[in-house]
């Protein structure tokens, strides 16, 4: 979805910047950070549709970052980038709630496809959530303010 907000997290700065440029070329709004801690900070500040997260990072690794993201309870989907060796970890990440994973090096089109999928999932979940909340408002108009929680 053109204009979707993407948070790119990868300790490989050049790769991260290149990916950001490529995604920006495809009309996405991209923020690039180089570690898990910065990612969490960004997520606390702003809303993102999809987080593209590298699995192997110094400090807070991809799995821990994912856990933290899940703790925030945001309407955001996470895509994991991994080398071949960490397929097991990628599967573990999916169990923890990640949308999907991609192996490096990957084509930009492939990534875009996954981002689109993740966005659709996030959008669906968000809409469903909104519908449920609206339903509750209809049933109990006093809860209208909860819509903006």
């Amino acid at each position: 979805m053109i204009g979707s907000k993407i948070l790119l997290v990868d300790d490989e700065e050049i790769f991260c910047d290149n990916m950001a440029k490529l995604l920006q070329n495809r009309q996405y709004k991209v923020t690039a950070v180089y570690n898990g801690e910065s990612a969490i900070r960004e997520l606390e500040k702003d809303n993102f549709d999809v987080v593209v997260l590298d699995l192997k990072m110094p400090g807070m690794n991809g799995i821990n970052t994912l856990k933290e993201i899940k703790k925030l309870g945001l309407f955001t989907e996470t895509l994991l980038l991994t080398g071949h060796g960490s397929v097991d970890a990628a599967i573990e990440a999916i169990r923890l709630g990640a949308y999907d994973f991609l192996t490096k090096p990957c084509e930009i089109d492939e990534l875009v496809e996954k981002i689109e999928g993740a966005w659709r999932k996030k959008d669906g979940a968000w809409k469903k959530d909104l519908e449920e909340k609206l339903k509750k408002v209809v049933e109990s108009p006093s809860d209208v303010f909860k819509l903006f929680d």
Partner: protein
């Protein structure tokens, strides 16, 4: 290098062989031979002593017989003189009757005569014409007159032939007369020689002066002087050795000598030592032959047993070496595996950057198309080449990752025969285009195994791919895949045999090493078989290869019915 190792091993085994033989010889043959020889020497000595004792006894006994004979005849003459008067004896036919009576059983006496104190014959019975002979001056007449009874030595006398006489004197009414008898020389000789032992045995009698009283056989004649006579009188039987002849004809004789009491004659029994101890020597020889035959048999058996033992050790050593090699291979693969994972990951990152850079360039080119045609063409070609090479690197890192991968195996029941048929079906088309046909020899009675089918497939496909590649230059060939129960019946065996170019001895050592390939650069990563190796090991199996250059290669895969417990729990 291999040849040097082989020859050093060969030397080692032949040294081991020699040492075993030497030890066994020292431990078994040396005591046997020592004991054998000791017993033999002891037995020989004992047997010789027995033989000597026997000889002494026989000689002693024979002396007694001769003495008895002489004494009996003297007593006989004495008896005649005591019981008969001279008048009676000189009457016609009386002496002849007595002579015949004495000689009735055997011809003991040659003649008998009565001689008066003047030395004249009064009566005579015998073959000689001696009636007119006067004995007054003969030595024996003087001796008998002096001693009353006398047994002479051998002498020639009036008859001019060797003989000896016995004479007794009787005093009758103041007149003395002598009864004299001549002992049959032949009869006496045969009596003496009766004790002769063996072919070389000689028996004779010497008088005190060393004159032969009976014919000695080879060394001299009767009534001649015996050589080397010492004349020393002794009791019992004297036992001594005598060397005769010179050079090759030299013989050692055993001489037994014993003195008769009356007359003082020496009974001599001689026999060749070799003949006397022939039986002992024969027994000795037989014992020694058996001893040495036993030693030879022990030696041969030792050689056979040792050869068998060394071959068993050699086989065991081979197995240990093979296991060590496998252990080393596994260790090597494990460490390379760890390294590969790191390397692949580290390469993946720059590859990812290169990929993104290429895509950025493509994006830029889309935004601002290149107007220069040649540059544009080169730009496109270069991007393509970057893409191709990145893919190539990606392929390598993917294989590296597979090699190092510690993913969980998915354990399922696998019918190996069905699985092999599927694999053949999968590969048949590709092989056919290369002129290669498949043949399967499957054991239908095989039970299914518990294993990871995708990993199994990866292994078998890899080996078949290699087999197909081995026929590259031939353009035809056959791949035979067989299944059977393993020898220890704890698993199954899959063999893949090809008729390809084979693998050299040098290459076969490194075949499971990562990055080892004989394919041209770019065609193979050299990881296929090392991945197979680690998969097979992970599944609790074994992989082995045998190859003959120009003839083909045989891969043997063994998988257990049940994979390792850890894998089962994991799965």
């Amino acid at each position: 290098m291999n040849q040097i190792l082989e020859s050093s091993k060969k030397t080692q085994y032949s040294r081991l062989f020699r040492r075993f033989i030497l030890l066994t010889m020292i431990c078994s043959l040396a005591p046997l031979l020592l004991a054998g020889w000791a017993i033999n020497i002891h037995y020989s000595r004992f047997a010789k002593e027995r033989m000597e004792k026997m000889l002494r006894t026989r000689v002693e006994y024979h002396r007694k017989i001769i003495e008895f004979f002489l004494k009996e005849n003297r007593t006989r003459l004495d008896f005649i003189t005591q019981t008969h008067s001279i008048d009676f004896l000189t009457k016609k036919d009386r002496l002849s009757h007595i002579f015949k009576t004495i000689n009735r059983d055997s011809w003991i006496l040659t003649d008998i005569g009565i001689i008066d104190e003047n030395g004249d014959h009064i009566a005579y019975v015998g073959p000689y014409d001696l009636m007119d002979k006067n004995y007054f001056n003969t030595f024996w007449f003087k001796e008998v007159m002096e001693k009353g009874s006398y047994t002479s030595d051998m002498f020639m006398g009036f008859r001019k032939e060797p003989h000896f006489v016995m004479a007794v004197i009787k005093n009758e009414n103041g007149h003395r007369w002598i009864l004299r008898a001549t002992i049959n020389t032949e009869w006496f000789r045969s009596l003496v020689e009766d004790v002769r032992i063996g072919k070389t045995g000689e028996v004779y009698i010497l008088n005190k002066k060393g004159i032969y009283q009976t014919s000695p056989g080879s060394d001299g004649e009767i009534m001649t002087l015996a050589s080397g006579f010492e004349g020393e009188i002794h009791d019992g039987v004297k036992f001594r050795f005598l060397e005769t002849g010179v050079g090759d004809s030299q013989t050692r004789k055993i001489v037994c000598e014993t003195w008769l009491r009356d007359p003082k004659w020496l009974l001599v029994v001689r026999i060749n030592e070799t003949e006397l101890f022939e039986e002992v020597r024969h027994a000795n020889r037989a014992a020694l032959i058996s001893l040495h035959l036993s030693a030879l048999i022990i030696f041969i058996v030792t050689v056979f047993i040792t050869r068998h033992m060394v071959s068993v050790i050699k086989k065991r050593d081979g197995e240990v070496e093979r296991m060590n090699r496998q252990l080393m291979q596994t260790g090597k693969l494990a460490s390379i595996g760890e390294l590969s994972a790191g390397v692949a990951h580290e390469i993946n990152n720059p590859l990812a950057i290169i990929t993104t850079e290429r895509q950025l360039l493509q994006d830029a080119e889309k935004r601002t198309p290149i107007t220069d045609e040649i540059f544009g063409k080169q730009f496109a070609e270069s991007l393509n080449q970057i893409d191709t090479q990145v893919l190539r690197c990606k392929h390598i890192t993917r294989n590296l990752m597979k090699f190092a991968r510690r993913t969980k195996s998915v354990i399922e029941t696998v019918d190996v025969n069905v699985f092999i048929r599927e694999v053949i079906e999968l590969m048949e088309r590709e092989a056919k285009s290369d002129g290669i046909s498949f043949k399967s020899i499957l054991d239908d009675k095989l039970k299914p195994i518990l294993s990871d089918p995708s990993q199994l497939q990866q292994v078998v496909l890899n080996i078949i791919n290699n087999a197909i590649a081995a026929h590259e230059d031939k353009g035809y060939g056959m791949i035979t895949i067989a299944t059977c129960l393993s020898k220890d019946k704890t698993g199954i065996v899959i063999t893949v045999e090809d008729t390809g170019c084979g693998i050299t001895d040098e290459d076969i050592e490194k075949i499971f090493d990562p990055f080892f390939t004989t394919k041209s650069p770019g065609k193979g990563t050299g990881l296929g078989l090392s991945i197979c190796y680690s998969i097979v090991k992970q599944l609790g199996g074994n992989i082995d290869v045998e190859s003959d250059v120009e003839k083909g290669t045989l891969f043997t895969l063994i998988f257990p019915f049940k994979p390792p417990e850890a894998l089962l729990n994991h799965g």
